[in-house]
């Protein structure tokens, strides 16, 4: 079985299949995280300003901060979830890239 399989070529195929998925993921996620991080910081600055100007109480400021934190944490959770989906895609693309070669080499459908 192993003699029929060109392992370096298969590894190269797997990496070639994974690369565009990783690049697309980063291309989509980076601007999103940057935008939301900026938004989070702007909102925190606004809360601080409102507190300094006595437009909100300390309790209200703390509630607002907690709300903004939860909101930003949701962004991070979504990014984590999208990351898991990206890993899943990479694994499936990598398996897909070597499927034919492996199945042909062993003579029956393993992958």
């Amino acid at each position: 079985m192993a003699t029929n399989l060109n392992l370096p070529a298969l590894a190269k195929d797997m990496l070639s299949a994974a690369k565009p998925i990783l690049e697309n993921y980063w291309k989509e996620v980076k601007p999103y995280v940057e935008k939301e991080s900026k938004n989070f910081l702007q909102n925190l600055a606004m809360i601080a300003k409102l507190k300094i100007q006595d437009k909100i109480s300390k309790e209200e400021a703390l509630l607002h901060i907690q709300i903004q934190r939860n909101s930003f944490r949701t962004v991070l959770m979504a990014v984590e979830g999208l990351g898991i989906l990206m890993v899943e895609n990479v694994l499936n693309a990598a398996i897909g890239a070597i499927r034919k070669a492996v199945n042909t080499a062993i003579g029956w459908t393993l992958l």
Partner: protein
């Protein structure tokens, strides 16, 4: 040797040499691992979650729009908004129970917990207002937080939907 020996009253697997047995187990494990040919690390798309979350988002957006258009309308006072808060909390907890029953669903469960917490915090903020009304700066901050939160959740749901091949 895989044939049966009736005279010795033994089962065929006992005649498989140890090394072959190990190879067979390894082969079976590999087969099980790749049999489905598809790795699944997260739960599949759930239409009910998508639908209920969309309704919650619409309700929240309508609430903020009313505040932007008529900031001091008596109907927006905390005492007149109990149906809004109760509706959101009921939907959020219903979704939480549903999603808890779905396997490989941790990101969505965590996001629903954060949404539920934010609804509760907004309720506290609103309840604490002496005149029962949120100020424009409160609305601005709350609107931003909830929009961000719903957008993040929908991004994830859309990715699950796209994975399922649903447009």
């Amino acid at each position: 040797m895989l044939y049966f020996h009736p005279e010795s009253n033994t089962y065929p697997y006992m005649f498989i040499p140890a090394l072959t047995k190990r190879r067979l187990i390894l082969l079976a494990a590999l087969f099980t691992l790749f049999a489905a040919c598809k790795v699944t690390l997260l739960s599949s798309y759930d239409e009910t979650t998508d639908k209920v979350l969309s309704e919650m988002q619409q309700s929240t957006t309508a609430f903020f729009v009313k505040y932007e258009v008529t900031p001091s309308a008596p109907e927006l006072k905390y005492g007149n908004q109990s149906a809004f808060y109760q509706g959101l909390i009921t939907s959020s907890r219903t979704l939480r129970i549903r999603n808890n029953a779905i396997e490989k669903n941790k990101p969505m469960i965590n996001m629903l917990d954060l949404l539920d917490d934010n609804i509760r915090l907004m309720d506290s903020l609103h309840r604490g207002k002496p005149d029962g009304l949120l100020a424009p700066h409160d609305v601005r901050l709350l609107k931003s937080a909830f929009e961000t939160q719903y957008t993040a959740m929908f991004k994830f749901i859309m990715a699950l939907k796209s994975r399922a091949g649903i447009k």
